[in-house]
Symmetry: C2
Subunit: 381 residues, 2 copies
């Protein structure tokens, strides 16, 4: 059924070329494509017939890459190209990225195309989604929570989006994979590359139940700046972003800042103040950049419009004596279990006027907190 709506081979080749010719994020090129259309734009780029700003982005590679070649190499590697022309393109999620200046993040831009490993349609997977990110150097505490959150949020119908890195990312994906929901991993290298290598089996599992996605063409190697660029897609793909553990300087806080700039709720999980892995989370909360959350319930509450999901965690059953007003409480405290005391003695013990004592005792009796005996009153044990 997707087949029917597939864009033409020509459009795919043009998108493949544009996605390979510039190093993302290519905001000038994106604008140029908007203005001239995909096929015309790629033709002009190949000819070098472009404005200076676009030239800066494409000059180095325009004569060295071929859309057709990239496309066939991708297909050979089992990677499909998803473009804004596809019905499964998540236009809504990426809307904020197209206007870089609006969100005050320089060099932001929506991806020109996405290379996808896995058959789940993107828009469908991201319709109800949450991003879970955090430190690679996570603690057992953090990984346990990431698995629990990934599983709990997926069970609640959310697609868990993350970066497939060691630590929090991988744990969140694993938790989600334990349900039947798809999970989405955005890579900072080609979707055909198992990075990190130790997660090759995890990446395969993700591509089978969900999708492994990259805006870099197959074969592109991971580079430090690509992780920061990739993070904007993770931030944009979730309705909100949860940071489970983050060090003092971390990619997770970079993702959180982008989510915040996109107007998506950012949540951070506290941890022991003695743990370096929680420093970033605590700083986000201190700086009012993130809402402190302690569990799946609070995350769902934050993600649900108008807090439609009630917040249970805080509710604790109260003892009946907790509902007593101060004077009744004062009187109750003056009563002794198994020892009968007169109203006069109770007045002196509690410091309350006899009048009040006489009015309050029946109420306490009704509440089952005091009982009348031969010699006076005593507390119900």
């Amino acid at each position: 059924m997707l087949e029917k709506e597939q864009p033409s081979e020509e459009v795919l080749a043009a998108r493949a070329y544009l996605s390979a010719v510039a190093e993302p994020p290519a905001s000038a090129l994106a604008g140029f494509v908007e203005a001239h259309g995909v096929c015309r734009a790629s033709e002009l780029v190949r000819r070098g017939d472009v404005p200076a700003l676009v030239a800066d982005e494409v000059e180095a590679r325009r004569e060295h890459v071929s859309g057709a070649e990239v496309l066939s190499a991708a297909r050979f590697a089992g990677i499909r190209l998803v473009t804004p022309e596809h019905p499964e393109w998540p236009h809504e999620r990426f809307a904020g990225l197209t206007d870089a200046t609006a969100i005050g993040l320089p060099g932001m831009a929506a991806p020109l195309a996405l290379w996808v490993r896995g058959s789940v349609p993107l828009a469908e997977a991201l319709e109800t989604s949450v991003s879970i990110v955090g430190a690679r150097a996570a603690t057992g505490y953090g990984e346990r929570l990431a698995v629990e959150f990934g599983h709990g949020l997926a069970s609640a119908g959310f697609t868990v989006v993350s970066g497939a890195a060691y630590g929090i990312d991988g744990a969140a994906h694993r938790g989600a994979l334990a349900t039947s929901r798809p999970t989405v991993a955005f890579l900072a290298c080609g979707a055909d590359i198992d990075y990190p290598a130790g997660h090759s089996r995890l990446l395969r599992a993700i591509s089978e139940q969900g999708v492994v996605v990259s805006e870099y063409p197959p074969g592109a190697s991971p580079r430090k700046h690509r992780f920061l660029v990739r993070n904007r897609l993770i931030a944009a793909s979730g309705q909100g972003t949860v940071v489970v553990e983050a060090g003092a300087r971390s990619g997770a806080s970079n993702t959180a800042n982008t989510a915040d700039a996109l107007g998506r709720p950012v949540m951070a999980v506290p941890g022991p103040v003695t743990s370096k892995a929680s420093v970033g989370c605590h700083e986000m909360v201190r700086g009012a950049k993130a809402l402190l959350v302690t569990g799946v319930g609070q995350i769902l509450e934050t993600l649900s419009p108008l807090g439609t999901i009630p917040f249970e965690e805080a509710r604790v059953p109260g003892l009946e004596t907790d509902s007593l007003d101060p004077h009744a409480r004062q009187l109750y405290d003056a009563l002794v279990p198994g020892e009968e005391v007169s109203a006069d003695q109770l007045a002196q013990e509690s410091g309350l006027p006899l009048r009040k004592i006489r009015a309050l005792l029946p109420a306490l009796e009704l509440a089952g907190l005091a009982m009348r005996n031969e010699q006076g009153w005593s507390r119900c044990a």
Copy 2:
């Protein structure tokens, strides 16, 4: 020197009587004393010649207590009476309590007098002070932090105020006692009573280096409502209140609410979300009732007017590459240690225009991040 300024024996006896005749907080009686003066007020109370609201507070005990007796019993127990007439009365700290309605807390009132075990002058001890409170059922994590904060804040010149209870309170006092600073414990029973019993040695140590204080006359037994009433004095006695650990329903949050109502900063320490003992702290932060703090530095920063004390914890030394702008970073990532690459290759690798590459390379060389060789450029390992 204190001797010289001692109020007359008559005033002391009157205050002793007033402090024993009503169950604190006695806001009507406090107002009555303001209006008529201590000696006249106690005389009128003894005669029962008082307005209805005052009568409610004193009626039950007015004929049964004697100021002189309470006073001599206290002296026999080594407890001294400190009154608003003493130069050591901490007027400033209790100012907020005198106007109950102003702070929106019903039944609030400054104490009519304080019974003190220990010789350190109160006002002096409370001139620079911080309250540290928390759960009795604290964890090892919480107690360790309470000791550390108590010690760190006392070392910084603050008097640590708390309630001498098991758990956080006791740990905070112990940490402070390890310095030469006084520490102040407010009890919910007579200052002559070792409560909790297991803290008798701690209480003695506090009374020797600082003071054990109560608004209840010697012999008064601890009662549940008295702990809540006592908490207002802990909240009022510190420039700010730090909650180290607090359960879902806790006295610590009661103290925090009062401190907040008094306009004093409230701070809460996060902990593992898996710990029941941190639920209250996390809720306070979520509800914006407390500022999240992770260490002594942040507490000092919060307590110091205009944040005069700089905040260090967050500063982390950066790698020189972290200061690179995105393009320089992109170029740096394209360089390979020990492998010589031409500017053209670097342009294709990085996707940057040759022009930019030529401009950036010397800068990276100056920064000691890139080096020129026979065949081209390589990254400095």
